[in-house]
Point group: C2
Chain length 339, copies 2
DNA sequence: ATGCCGAACTGAACCGGATAAGCTGAGAAA
DNA sequence: TTTCTCAGCTTATCCGGTTCAGTTCGGCAT
């Protein structure tokens, strides 16, 4: 099946290639009648412009890039990324932009991918996930002058546009909620320590615990896998002054923690309250359903995509704070049982 | 930062554009010495070929497409797709192919995406997921002559290349295992009924149950969400002749089923045995850990990608059976308690 | 010495659009 | 009637590669 080109449309319409191009792009230079005729013919013969030719002459790829840097085993289990992607996608496909995805092993490989994409002009811009402290990707992107929106922050994003959610506020709300229930010994199972948002949450946790006089507050680090989350929970619950509430940095670890607690003969929420960050459907699957910090991740992705398209169009992307996660109390939190 | 073009390389090497092109593509037409010199210069000035220009003149996009047609809420939760994507990616990036992803609402939108990709020459081929019975995408792709590999089958894939896993065998093994434990009343919570592999599993389930004389075998349909899976489980467990074992078509529903059973005061595996299809890390998070049918999904994706690249290269893709899922017994299955 | 061959390379056409510059003819202004 | 203007189009060039048809030249056989 031969693919129609702009020349085919031009021939059938009895005009030149240029006229067709103007008509398709909504540019002045053709009469409204001619434009309609050309559009009708284009639709009729199923013409779409070659993305390659367009990219070559218009110097725009019509695609944005997303490189995911997580080991395959955590990538799949985290509902976060798919939710983010579906939101990004919704925004992009509405403007007929494509999404180019790449899974990379480490930040250096990611920088290499950006450099390649830039050289190949394969994408017009990129979304940067999992902001780290002292992130080498930021200066690399600045140097390339590749339009980018960093999903993460605030802070540490250099001159690049960025979008974040106020994790500090969400964490503070959560601790205050647990404290109001009467919890005094609160632990937190954190995600990867070199991620910027882990750092932000850790600082906020320390601050609010100090403010509320929760001296037994403890943070342990993990890697977002259920396995590690379970192990961390077992350690916490075996300690002499075991916490009465644990906040997990993602829902997978929270579910693992719940299992460990139940396995150790503790009841949730009687002996232990659990709060999960990221309120995916998983939180409602387990028994008791988990109290969780949720927000609209697809909307977050859509927002980031819109912001990136603005940057690509030459507008300043700015630094934008998105919706703050809100706590949805469910069955996994309650006042601590008096011992 | 100005991007170097092939002309820059040619100028610095003191040769023509053509020579550089031959050198970069490993074509004959330049001496080995010149080739090395050109490659060195290309590396030195950080040259990569514009994907657009390459696509335009070589008539190859250097990208393959993947359209995912699932509602956003199930897409994210299913670890399957991310695992598949990471496998596909590994294979593609090794050959510096890009992956273009699109999330679509329904099969018709998916066909429209294929048609657009084809018209735009945006991808060289596509991977087709979630094969349905009487799948309209198949004739559409055949008509477009867009290289494709269907992930699913066997059967119903028309003339297209396809890759599948023997779900019938896996299901048969599972039922035999449960029957060997002594279960006589086995139920199955199936996924979306119009998916081809659901149909295959349903037929296999009926066949093996009849062969083993399990007259109480029952299949109920669901939509892969935990919510529906839980509801289906509640119905099953409330019935007069409640099953002693349930096979779930994915792990999310299995986990939901486990919660429902526990909530209803049933012990697992004492009162109810549970088997999950798709052995993601989630199965090991819950307590008891779930007996599951697992296989290497990233390898499956990599296999599909390799097959598609072969089809793109003009070789016959064929119909290939991949690894069969194998049962990993864990804590959620045991002989039924005698009542 | 001449002719011939093939390796090594050049030049130009081409892919399919976007776009600047040039052309044309109808209507308005002089 | 002539000139000017400008909407509405055409023509030509460019984007950055690939590729085909030549061209050059060194070496070898005659």
């Amino acid at each position: 099946m031969k693919r129609p080109t702009i020349a085919d449309v031009a021939q059938r319409a009895g005009v030149s290639k240029g006229a067709v191009s103007y008509a398709l792009n909504g540019q002045p230079g053709v009469s409204e009648a001619t434009r309609q005729r050309i559009l009708a013919i284009a639709t009729e013969i199923g013409f779409s412009r070659s993305s390659a030719a367009r990219a070559l002459s218009a110097a725009t790829a019509g695609a944005i890039g997303l490189a995911l840097c997580r080991p395959a085993r955590t990538l799949g289990v985290e509902p976060f990324f798919m939710a983010l992607i579906s939101g990004v996608e919704a925004e992009l496909s509405a403007r007929s932009y494509a999404l180019t995805l790449q899974v990379v092993a480490d930040p250096d490989a990611e920088i290499a991918v950006y450099r390649r994409w830039w050289g190949e002009r394969r994408v017009d811009g990129v979304l940067v996930c999992d902001l780290r402290t002292d992130d080498r990707r930021i200066p690399a992107l600045e140097q390339l002058q590749l339009p980018a929106v960093v999903i993460g922050g605030p802070g540490g994003t250099g001159e690049l546009a960025s979008l974040w959610s106020d994790d500090a506020a969400a964490l503070t709300e959560t601790v205050e909620y647990l404290a109001a229930l009467g919890h005094r010994r609160i632990a937190r199972v954190a995600g990867l320590p070199d991620l910027r948002h882990t750092e932000i949450r850790t600082d906020a946790f320390a601050a609010v615990c100090q403010r509320l006089g929760l001296v037994d507050a403890v943070t342990v680090w993990s890697d977002y896998t259920g396995e590690e989350g379970g192990r961390a929970t077992r350690r916490l619950l075996s300690s002499a002054s075991r916490p009465t509430a644990v906040i997990y940095d993602n829902d997978v670890m929270a579910i693992a923690g719940l299992s460990v607690a139940q396995e150790m003969g503790l009841t949730v929420p009687g002996d232990l309250s659990i709060v999960a960050w990221d309120d995916s459907p998983l939180c409602r699957l387990v028994h008791p359903p988990l109290t969780a910090l949720g927000r609209d991740i697809p909307a977050y992705g859509a927002h980031a995509a819109r912001q990136l398209l603005a940057v690509v169009a030459g507008q300043p992307g700015g630094r934008v704070q998105d919706e703050t996660a809100h706590l949805t109390p469910r069955g996994s939190t309650a006042p601590p049982r008096v011992r």
